[in-house]
């Protein structure tokens, strides 16, 4: 590192860049993340955008840190505000030690918006960009120079990152951006933020290289590594990156990733492909998931292996397409008419997304049923560092398939044979002698339509037996904290990192807690119910209005007296500090003997 002076070592810093949609906040944050990752730090980023292409408030946040963190923290150290609204919307996240870099092209910042003591660097980025380069487009690159210097990044490293990022968009665009960066560095000099004199000193701590990846990309990659070779999708926020990643990578491996005319085609084309034996996935978000209900139930009934990714966003209906929520749990577990078997997995970090996507792909093939991966907007789209995936540890097991020789050895081949574990062998079309009928009508062992009551019971029981069997190997929850702590947490998806960090803060305040992060929520595994039994009280943290996870636990027999629902449904992601406050409030109520009011209703 160039600088060897007395600045503190960077251990945990959060930067938010905010302005109007199209201002390039996300670009700044992504490049910062890349730079810090390259410096051996871990990062976690978040986007906060509207469902429109340009205009409207848009922000992106980056947190860089040493050690393990899996969320944006409770405080922002640096705000890069490309307009006044950016300050207004984000000031609540600042504290007196925060630094604000403000584009004052539209006038100076009115007083009173910032806490006293906040350090303000103001310059007219927009005007400079317009004046010097004729396009305001480059203001974010100017701002980059300043925030980069402040954070202690090397000028040369910044230039390298710019080159890497903009090269593929042509030399002209690259040159302009580099020019803007130089303007920014120059401005920084003028403001007294010299090279090597940032507020932090960056120390290479972790020698291991890290991937910078979002959950949707991890899901796509996990599927691919698990032998997935057929994917269908229809663009919808926040799932589109799964489609786009697979459109790029699957064909190279001989696979097909097809954008269909709608989600009905998506699910049914996936089913058609899966029937040929290829491992198949589709991904969508709430509205598309609702449309797929008939197809999903059909896969359950006809025993078609299928992975379905639901990248949840704020509902109901079109809702708030760019905002995180976990409010499709009900429809994942209970959607589709009639009774059929299904599995719902819930990863908590881009890292986990990879491994659970592998599991989902294996499980679908093995148990011939729909397997859901429950994502949420934050988990889907927030980019974070993860350790390189251990490809060598991935095992890929094909399901019970019969080839020509195996069929020839049989007396009779029955597609839906009654078996002890409920799983019947299948032949793929093209296999001589192994013809079968696949149908969503109730059917006999051969797949012939049947309404015989005795057959019906056996066939239903067979299908559900698969789930009993699967329970033995479904991904168990991960436990954190003191197993004897009286206070328990249950939460999934993006709540994983938030709860872990809230537990630290609570511990500092003298609360001893433990956390079970379920990674399968359907079927509900015993470890979750046992965890509840073991605790005095359990805070079930739901990112929805109805307490879907809490009630799902009750549905499965959890003692409702032990469950305290914590709800959030305003479209904002939880922050550790916010959660801590919720818990403290509840605990106070308890102390005041108001236990009843706090219970899940």
């Amino acid at each position: 590192m160039t600088s060897n002076n007395s600045q503190p070592v960077l251990e945990d810093v959060s930067v938010i860049v905010a302005g109007q949609g199209g201002d390039g906040s996300l670009t700044v944050v992504t490049m910062l993340a890349d730079l810090f990752r390259n410096s051996g730090l871990n990062v976690y980023t978040e986007r906060d955008v509207l469902s429109r292409i340009r205009g409207g408030h848009a922000a992106a946040t980056m947190r860089a840190f040493t050690g393990e963190r899996y969320c944006i923290g409770s405080h922002i150290d640096i705000l890069v505000a490309l307009d006044q609204e950016a300050v207004e919307k984000n000031a609540h996240q600042l504290n007196p030690n925060s630094i604000v870099i403000f584009d004052d092209s539209g006038g100076p910042l009115p007083s009173g918006l910032l806490l006293e003591g906040t350090k303000l660097y103001a310059a007219p980025f927009n005007r400079i960009a317009m004046r010097t380069m004729r396009r305001e487009l480059y203001k974010n690159s100017i701002a980059f120079g300043i925030v980069g210097r402040l954070l202690g990044l090397e000028d040369e490293a910044m230039r390298r990152t710019f080159t890497k990022r903009f090269q593929r968009r042509g030399q002209i665009i690259l040159d302009y951006n580099l020019e803007a960066l130089e303007l920014g560095l120059h401005l920084a000099d003028e403001m007294g933020i010299k090279a090597g004199e940032g507020i932090y000193r960056i120390e290479h701590t972790d020698p291991e290289e890290h991937l910078l990846i979002m959950g949707n990309e991890s899901i796509a990659f996990g599927f691919m590594v698990a032998g997935g070779r057929f994917f269908t999708g229809y663009p919808i926020t926040p799932s589109t990156e799964v489609l786009e990643t697979l459109q790029k990578w699957l064909p190279r491996c001989g696979g097909v990733a097809r954008q269909t005319e709608d989600e009905l085609a998506g699910i049914n084309m996936a089913i058609g492909a899966a029937l040929t034996g290829v491992r198949t996935m589709t991904a969508t978000s709430g509205p598309g998931f609702s449309l797929m209900q008939e197809g999903i139930g059909h896969a359950g009934s006809a025993e078609v292996p299928l992975v379905i990714v639901d990248c949840q966003r704020s509902g109901p209906s079109t809702g708030m397409p760019t905002k995180p929520e976990q409010s499709d749990l009900n429809i994942m577990v209970f959607g589709g008419h009639g009774d059929y078997p299904r599995i719902v997995l819930t990863p908590g970090h881009p890292d986990d997304c990879f491994y659970l996507a592998v599991d989902a792909t294996n499980l679908a093939d093995k148990y011939q049923c729909p397997v859901f991966i429950a994502m949420d907007q934050a988990l889907s789209q927030n980019i974070a560092t993860v350790k390189p995936f251990k490809l060598d540890e991935v095992t890929v097991e094909p399901g019970k398939r019969l080839n020509e020789e195996e069929v020839a050895k049989l007396d009779t081949y029955k597609r839906y044979e009654f078996t002890e574990d409920g799983v019947s062998s299948f032949t793929v079309p093209g296999t001589p002698g192994g013809m079968s009928l696949v149908t969503g009508n109730e059917h006999d062992e051969f797949g012939l339509v049947s309404t015989d009551p005795a057959n019906r019971i056996k066939m239903m029981d067979k299908r559900f037996r698969k789930i009993e069997e699967a329970k033995k190997e479904l991904p168990k929850g991960r436990h954190f904290g003191d197993p004897d702590a009286p206070i328990g947490f249950i939460g999934i998806g993006m709540m994983y990192g938030v709860i872990l960090e809230a537990m630290e803060e609570l511990e500092e305040q003298g609360f001893n807690t433990q956390y079970l992060q379920p990674r399968t929520i359907w079927p509900m595994l015993d470890d979750v119910l046992e965890f509840i039994d073991r605790c005095d009280r359990v805070y079930v943290v739901d990112l929805n209005a109805q307490g879907q996870l809490a009630h799902l636990l009750m549905h499965q027999g959890a003692d409702s007296n032990k469950i305290i629902s914590i709800l959030r449904y305003d479209g904002l992601p939880y922050r550790p500090g916010y959660l801590v406050n919720q818990i403290l409030e509840q605990e106070e109520k308890l102390i005041n003997g108001k236990k009843k009011e706090a219970k899940a209703q």
């Binding site: 991937l211 064909p251 085609a265 058609g272 390189p388 490809l391 049989l410 013809m435 009928l437 149908t439």
Partner: protein, 292 residues
């Protein structure tokens, strides 16, 4: 289709159709064509929608799939793209294909995947007891709309390559059309669309009426099925005269979906061995694309 002795699996069902139903002829002609063309049962993936028509797959020796109502086309596309070596045939009724399935039909014409689709058009919803379908005329039950003509619809897609209409009352011609359709898809030329007028004797017995109204373009020497606009005009004229055109309505050329989408350097998706090391180099590339 004859059943090779090695088969160890289901015995095809007896048709559940009413005596006299046009669908019997469709099945008979289909079996004959498959036989004649030597399509082995294990290479045939036969997908059907829901309805009286959509039970035909149960009666055949094949890999049969009973799709959801209206969803047979996307399922067939999925199967064909995953394993282009299969002979894929989709079938269903006019309600299945033209009502709930209309959007998929449009996109199948548009994308031109190589499989055959047989619509058994009886001008009503047989299995749900005779309600009007998109091909019912105004006045059938309380139908308030004029019927859809699938040949005109098909012609409106520049990517359409095979359009034909047969009649269960003319099995010879139907056989020729069926073979031409399957031949079209076997040689990878794209989507073969074959509508069959197949009367429903129970709810809407059009047998006589249709026999009187059909006009066989195959027998009209002046008709040129390679001329899209000409075919369009001729159909309209015939319909204005009260005729229903049957025969090979259109022959076109357009690249097939699977030939664009599939990576020719690799086995097709369903033919790959499931194992994570086959494409390790791409996985490693993916990883490095996310590294510094």
């Amino acid at each position: 289709m004859t059943t090779p002795p090695s088969t160890k699996t289901f015995t095809p069902a007896r048709p559940i159709w009413c005596a006299g139903c046009g669908d019997f002829a469709v099945q008979g002609v289909l079996e004959k064509s498959l036989n004649k063309m030597g399509i082995p049962p294990h290479k045939l993936m036969f997908l059907a929608g829901i309805g009286c028509a959509g039970t035909i797959q149960n009666n055949l020796k094949c890999y049969g799939y009973h799709s959801l109502h209206g969803r047979v086309l996307p399922a067939a596309i999925g199967a064909k793209l995953a394993n282009p070596d299969l002979t894929v045939i989709a079938a269903g009724g006019d309600g299945d294909g033209f009502a709930i399935g209309a959007g998929h039909l449009v996109h199948t014409f548009k994308s031109n995947p190589s499989f055959t689709y047989i619509v058994m058009n009886n001008g009503n919803y047989g299995l749900t007891k005779g309600q009007a379908s998109p091909t019912s005329p105004i006045g059938y039950h309380d139908n308030a709309e004029s019927g859809l003509d699938s040949m005109l619809l098909g012609l409106s897609f520049l990517s359409a390559t095979f359009l034909a209409r047969g009649f269960s009352g003319n099995p010879e011609q139907l056989g020729r059309l069926m073979e031409a359709a399957i031949e079209h898809t076997e040689s990878g030329k794209g989507f073969a669309f074959l509508e069959v007028l197949s009367p429903c004797v129970t709810y809407y017995d059009t047998h006589r009426e249709w026999r009187a109204r059909v006009y066989n373009v195959d027998e009209d020497e002046s008709f040129d099925p390679t001329n899209r606009a000409g075919a369009f005009q001729k159909i309209i004229e015939l319909m204005e005269q009260g005729h229903i055109p049957i025969g090979r309505i259109f022959k076109g050329e357009h690249i097939s979906l699977e030939s664009i989408l599939l990576n020719k350097e690799e086995p097709a998706p369903a033919q790959q061995k499931i194992g994570h090391n086959e494409h390790r180099k791409h996985y490693d590339k993916f990883i490095s694309s996310h590294l510094g």
